[in-house]
């Protein structure tokens, strides 16, 4: 409390002013862009819409909806991956950068299994059965990958400064990428063709089957994870270890086993995301995990790292923002080549959220004495 009082009285420094200006500028750009977009939608000949972008055309309802759905589907995948970052951070306090590669391993496993099933003719005749099978295989392989990673690369470093496992995780990430490169080659590998009902749009809201599938499966996975963490004994142990590993050990919790379970759960979620990726884009390459991994990490930070609901919310926010941001905010402002800026938009969301809420959307404000 004393610290807080002192801080309030402290004069604002140049950095504070700069941050305030940045916050205002960011909000202004977003607000003006959105207003110009709304002006476009009302009437493309609107002087405000014409002011920034004389070629403004606006979007139809169906196009707008397509953007949102595509963003939600992509965001759900980011969210699933982000859960792994967040959970590991929760118990061990470091960022497992190799987690994006676990996702890639999931997508690769799915590709191999589904190609085998397609060769056997089962992929076409029983798509749902095959899908369940590849999800099962991929989840197991990814959970195992994550557990082995923890055992080999991170457990020996337990207790060392946090930067050391962080750097190690970057090494593990390169290792997994290169293993995939050596085993499967550098070319993009395609998933077998999916049935028409997955590709075509459905009468229900005019959404492609694959996107409905992605959103439903992601939501189901999230519910399962919530149940495990909140309602089971293992989940209780995880929360206890996250709260304080030493006290948890004193209470009779096997900390090592709990940490292994956390890695396995995170890996399983990444495996699930990998399959969804495969169904949606039907193509995977050894670098597939890199960019989604970085964006999922951003999602975890946006949501407030260590917070599971936050990870999912962060994933959805980044997915939707990078999908609609270029056309909703940048294009009405007359920026050219907006579609090449989608990654920039995704990371701008991260910077914007950190400017306005430094602990993320769901991260709680720290007491001032803990801030140093």
């Amino acid at each position: 409390m004393i610290g807080k009082a002192l801080r309030r009285k402290a004069p604002r420094t140049g950095v504070d002013w700069f941050l305030t200006v940045m916050r205002v500028a960011a909000l202004t750009v977003v607000a003006v862009g959105l207003l110009a977009f709304i002006a476009q939608e009302i009437d493309t000949n609107n002087p405000f819409a014409r002011w920034a972008n004389p070629d403004a055309t606006g979007l139809t309802r169906a196009q707008f909806q397509g953007l949102i759905v595509s963003g939600v589907a992509q965001g759900a995948m980011y969210g699933l991956i982000a859960l792994g970052y967040s959970m590991v951070y929760g118990v061990l306090g470091f960022i497992n950068f190799a987690h994006g590669e676990v996702f890639m391993v999931g997508a690769m496993t799915g590709m191999i299994t589904s190609t085998k099933l397609a060769d056997a003719g089962m992929w076409e005749s029983n798509f749902i059965g095959s899908l369940v099978l590849i999800v099962f295989v991929s989840v197991i392989v990814c959970a195992l990958t994550a557990v082995i990673m923890e055992r080999v690369a991170y457990r020996p470093l337990r207790g060392s400064p946090r930067l050391i496992p962080l750097i190690t995780s970057i090494g593990v990430s390169f290792f997994l990428q290169n293993v995939s490169l050596v085993l499967l080659g550098p070319a993009a590998k395609a998933y077998p063709d999916v049935p028409d009902w997955v590709k075509s749009k459905h009468t229900f809201l005019e959404i492609e089957g694959a996107k409905i599938l992605v959103i439903v499966v992601a939501a189901a996975s999230m519910v399962c994870l919530w149940y495990v963490v909140e309602r089971t004994k293992s989940g209780k142990a995880m929360r206890a270890v996250a709260e304080d590993a030493e006290i948890a050990a004193l209470m009779g919790i096997n900390v090592n086993r709990t940490i292994v379970k956390v890695f396995a759960l995170g890996g399983a979620m990444a495996g699930m995301a990998g399959i969804l990726w495969g169904i949606l884009f039907r193509s995977v390459v050894h670098t597939t995990g890199f960019l989604p991994g970085i964006k999922a990490f951003s999602a975890a930070v946006v949501g407030g790292i260590g917070h599971l609901g936050g990870a999912m919310t962060g994933g959805l926010s980044i997915g939707v923002a990078e999908s609609v941001g270029p056309l909703l905010i940048l294009e009405p402002l007359g920026v050219s080549g907006v579609s090449q800026l989608r990654d920039a938009v995704a990371f701008a969301v991260l910077i914007g959220v950190l400017l306005l809420r430094p602990n993320g959307l769901f991260g709680e404000r720290l007491p001032s004495e803990d801030r140093t």
Partner: protein, 467 residues
């Protein structure tokens, strides 16, 4: 909701988080800056550090007796230096193509064609030609630059066959040509590397750069005439991926289409590693074009063809692509059935390469026996002719002096700039002052769909163009 004890953990990890975010910001900046490679960046050619290796056993081989004036009619004035190849050594040239990754289907046949052509050609004045190991341009500026630095470190090299991708040539050509070597590409088509065909050099043009592939201004014009005249469409849109090849071709199409009288309703770009194309397609769909031309590469091309029909406003839009996607990996994809592709005229028929006497049929037979497959793209022919041009140029600019083969680097360039009416597999080759040696014949083919129809699709010519 009480998920985790993040309160305590956040406190402990603040340093790490800041560091990670800083790293992330750096990544993002790097990614952005890599996307907009400044073409004006010229890199100083590193000095050649490796001295020519002395022959370990300078055996006296049966070389023809030196003439009174050993130089004879060899071209050149020595201004770029003379390379001496001692008896028993080989003439060094290199092949630099996109031989790995998604673009390998395009670059690998060009690379292999160089080795086949060198074998067909045989020794020059009794000296063998050594191509060394294939180098990889990775279809980008980074790969082109790295490989070019490896090449110029060896000052015995006379010429480089490559690159496959214009993006790689932009970085590689200045390095290679500054070292006095020549570069002949069988795959580059960007106008930026040569000229606008009206006498103005492109921004990335350098002396000593040649190509047997066509200039994309022809390809853009061909596609525009096809869409406007044959399909009867008046609106179209184009998507590129920021690479000089794709951007140049999309722009050439756009300009030519408007010259024809059509309207471009959209012109946009994607990133090479994008997978979700719905946003860019929605941007394009806002203008409701009748045709969408995306002269890009795999895998981005897979995703555009796959996702376009699902975007509201593009359901009936006709999809068109160019020679970067006209290959045996892209045509069998289910989403590409019915698409139109522009590309070089592949009906090589009975064309004979005048220096080796080989036809397309001879070549493909040899290719199949060596590699167990048919060439996955048509640019093998351009690669073959490019190799022969380089070898002919070396023959014309070299002479034997006391058992040593002398090669005048300037002479090699003189030969190529002066080349007229050379009969190659691709047709008649004439080099202009900017290094454009390729044929201007472009065809548009329609994909019949399916793995079994690749060959038939490549020959399914719907439209032919010649200026």
């Amino acid at each position: 909701m009480n998920w985790y004890g993040h309160l305590t953990k956040v406190r402990k990890g603040r340093g790490v988080i800041s560091l990670v975010i800083a790293l992330l910001a750096v990544f993002a900046l790097l990614a952005t800056s890599c996307g907009n490679d400044d073409d004006g960046d010229t890199v100083e050619a590193p000095e050649a550090t490796q001295a020519p290796e002395a022959a370990e056993e300078p055996e006296a081989t049966e070389a023809p007796a030196p003439a009174p004036d050993p130089r004879g009619n060899a071209l050149g004035d020595g201004s770029l230096g003379i390379v001496e190849v001692e008896a028993g050594e080989a003439i060094q040239i290199r092949s630099l193509q996109a031989i790995t990754g998604d673009v390998a289907g395009f670059g690998l046949p060009i690379d292999r064609a160089a080795y086949i052509a060198a074998d067909d050609y045989g020794p020059i004045h009794g000296f063998d030609v050594d191509l060394g190991a294939s180098l990889d341009d990775l279809c980008g500026a980074d790969g082109g630059q790295a490989a070019a630095q490896t090449i110029v470190a060896d000052d015995r090299v006379i010429g480089v066959l490559g690159t496959s991708c214009s993006g790689a040539a932009v970085a590689a050509a200045p390095l290679v040509t500054n070292a006095g070597m020549v570069m002949i590409s069988g795959g580059n088509t960007s106008p930026a590397l040569t000229s606008d065909l009206a006498g103005t050099a492109g921004p990335n043009h350098v002396k000593g750069y040649y190509r047997t592939a066509h200039n994309d201004l022809y390809q853009g014009a061909a596609m525009a005439k096809f869409v406007f005249g044959e399909l009867g469409f008046t609106t179209a849109a184009a998507i590129h991926d920021g690479d000089p090849y794709t951007q140049g071709l999309a722009q050439a199409f756009s300009d030519a289409f408007e010259d024809e009288g059509g309207t471009m309703t959209g012109f946009s770009g994607v990133n090479k590693d994008d997978t979700d194309m719905v946003p860019v397609l929605t941007e394009i769909a806002a203008g409701s074009p009748e045709a969408l031309f995306f002269p890009i590469f795999q895998p981005a091309g897979d995703f555009i063809a796959d996702q376009a029909p699902g975007v509201s406003g593009l359901e009936d839009t006709v999809l068109l692509a160019a020679d970067g996607l006209l290959n045996a990996n892209y045509l069998p994809l289910p989403q590409t059935a019915g698409m139109y592709f522009s590309g070089p005229d592949q009906r090589f028929g009975e064309n004979v390469n005048q220096s080796t006497g080989k036809t397309a049929a001879d070549f493909t037979a040899e290719y199949e026996s060596r590699y167990g497959e048919v060439p996955s793209s048509a640019f093998w022919a351009h690669g073959y002719d490019a190799t022969i041009l380089l070898l002919d140029a070396i023959a014309a600019a070299s002479w034997i002096d006391d058992d040593t083969l002398m090669i005048d680097r300037q002479g090699v360039r003189d030969y190529l700039y002066g080349l007229r009416n050379f009969n190659g597999i691709i047709g008649t080759i004439n080099c202009d002052a900017f290094g454009d040696c390729g044929s201007s014949k472009i065809t548009v083919v329609q994909n019949l769909g399916g793995e079994e129809n690749i060959e038939a699709s490549l020959n399914n010519v719907i439209y032919s163009y010649e200026p």
